[in-house]
């Protein structure tokens, strides 16, 4: 049984001139529980829209989203979305941000503090609980955002190019942090990126998308052993394969 099933998802936007724009067509995906799926594609192929449909932030035009074979309607409360933009609440401290979902659930204060401490340790940022988001770098803020998403403890973690705005070194560091977290928490992750190496390092499976209309053109199982080395032949071969797929689609 799949954890998450996307059945014939499609999205048509109404353009300003009354023209219809087909952003997504017939998206079918089945994600197993605990699977790490990367969605890759060039800009404008509807990756972000796809995540927003799954999250329920944008209504779909056609198709269904199923969680444990149950239909999801409106907001999908079993998943959370980590945005590409820095999305921490600037009026709260780091502590206030991470405990936000816990507070909403009514978790009491001492328990919240313990959880925040544990989560900060998990993302490798101990001792910043009392800092304000604007005092931290972009990479640190994104780690806090991941910790906050984990505090919500969703079944499915949707990530929309969360490392997109970071430099290569920070990006690789956060990829490792994310893999560690994923190993510990066994979450099902859908991770959108346009960085081929990032997809190969992270994913169990890479879904390749093409634009106009946004659709899936390939679904690649990544069988390379974990702790993937970017310089091995297999890695590079896979990189070239995906690059060719993306180039053909453009």
């Amino acid at each position: 049984m799949n954890k998450l099933t996307l059945k014939g998802l499609g999205k048509v936007f109404n353009g300003e001139d009354g023209r219809e724009i087909e952003a997504l067509r017939d998206i079918n995906v089945g994600a197993r529980s605990g699977e790490f799926i990367c969605i890759i594609g060039s800009t404008g192929c509807g990756k972000t829209t796809l995540l927003r449909l799954i999250a329920g932030l944008t209504p779909m035009s056609t198709g269904q989203v199923l969680l444990d074979d149950k239909l999801v309607e409106n907001l999908n409360r079993d998943c959370t979305l980590v945005f590409q933009q820095l999305s921490l609440f600037p009026w709260f401290s780091v502590q206030g941000n991470i405990e936000f979902p816990l507070e909403l659930k009514g978790v009491d204060k001492s328990e919240r503090e313990a959880r925040v401490k544990e989560l900060l340790k998990m993302v490798g940022l101990e001792g910043v609980a009392n800092s304000k988001p604007y005092e931290l770098s972009g990479g640190m803020q994104q780690r806090i955002a991941i910790a906050r998403a984990l505090a919500y403890d969703p079944e499915i973690l949707l990530m929309d190019e969360p490392f997109g705005a970071l430099d290569e070194k920070t990006r690789q560091k956060l990829q490792n942090v994310l893999l560690e977290v994923w190993k510990k928490k066994k979450k099902t992750i859908l991770f959108v990126t346009h960085n081929i190496d990032e997809a190969i390092v992270l994913a169990d499976r890479i879904i390749v998308m093409a634009p106009e209309p946004g659709r899936i053109i390939n679904d690649i199982e990544v069988t390379l052993p974990r702790k993937r080395d970017r310089l091995t032949n297999e890695f590079i071969k896979l990189h070239i394969e995906i690059r060719n797929l993306l180039e053909v689609s453009d």
Binding site: L57, P101, Y152
Partner: protein, 275 residues
């Protein structure tokens, strides 16, 4: 540049201004037109002494302040919730906004004659059927409260709406994605995110209220307050009292503004540092 020199630079022009005033006063030699600086100071340093049969400077200042506090508080209690409501509900905005646009260009001072005609000299205690309480409440005319309310109304209302509209959809969606209900989003996201703009509205509104009350007190039918004291000392050609009142109005305005500026800096720290 040394710190001392820098702070001296801020004092230079004000001191020069007072000096020129003093020279002008000496040269004119007409206290009924240009009072000497020391005459003005003499009034200010004994704020509790009786002036021209209208109570002391301190008392009249307190009366004006008290009127503003009451009128302004009503404006806050009314406008902040309405602004939040208009900001979050497009329907309410469509319903109420035409009325706002209709009244907004109307200067609050233009309401003064209307308020005088409509409310007369009815005082706050009389609203509750009490003729005389022998407290400062007796000096609070409903008409003045009404005018101060109008002075605070639009800055508070419009800034609140502006604040709510400025809440990023990213924050709201983030909260939704972390399990927040509509109510929780309002309390935990919309309210804190629009607070800096609301406080700006309070600051502007309080400044206008303070100006409007002085104008209202200058009109016929007024019997106390610093605006009244100014007009009365004008009629008696007691220029040193008149100028002392002006200084007082300026000082109170400054303190009110600085107080809210302090609060404003505290609640909007994240906003200025985020960019």
């Amino acid at each position: 540049m040394s710190k001392l020199l820098k702070s001296w630079q801020s004092f230079l022009l004000p001191v020069l201004f007072i000096l020129i005033w003093e020279l002008w006063a000496i040269k004119t030699n007409n206290p009924a037109l240009v009072p000497r600086v020391e005459a003005v100071l003499y009034v200010i340093i004994q704020p509790f002494s009786e002036l021209i049969g209208t109570g002391s400077l301190a008392w009249n200042t307190a009366v004006s302040l008290f009127r503003v506090i009451i009128g302004f508080s009503i404006a806050v209690i009314f406008c902040v919730p309405l602004g939040l409501w208009m900001g979050t509900s497009p329907t309410i905005h469509r319903l109420v906004n035409p009325l706002v646009e209709m009244f907004r260009p109307l200067c609050p001072i233009a309401w003064i004659p209307f308020a005088m005609a409509f409310f007369g000299t009815t005082r706050l205690p009389q609203l509750f059927g009490i003729r005389y309480t022998d407290t400062i409440l007796d000096s609070v005319q409903i008409g003045m409260v009404f005018i101060i309310f109008w002075g605070g109304l639009f800055p508070i209302l419009l800034n609140t709406i502006y604040g709510v509209n400025g809440v990023r959809s990213l924050w709201i969606e983030t909260a939704q994605m972390l399990g927040a209900s509509k109510r929780q989003i309002f309390h935990k996201v919309i309210l804190p995110a629009s607070l800096p703009a609301i406080v700006t509205g309070l600051r502007v509104g309080l400044g206008i209220s303070w100006m409007v009350i002085i104008a209202a007190e200058m009109l016929p039918g007024s019997d106390s307050g610093i605006g009244y004291l100014i007009m009365y000392s004008y009629e008696l050609a007691e220029m040193q009292i008149l100028v002392a009142c002006m200084v007082m109005i300026g000082l109170i305005g400054l303190v009110l503004n600085k107080g809210l500026e302090f609060i404003s800096l505290r609640v909007s720290r994240w906003q200025s540092l985020e960019r």
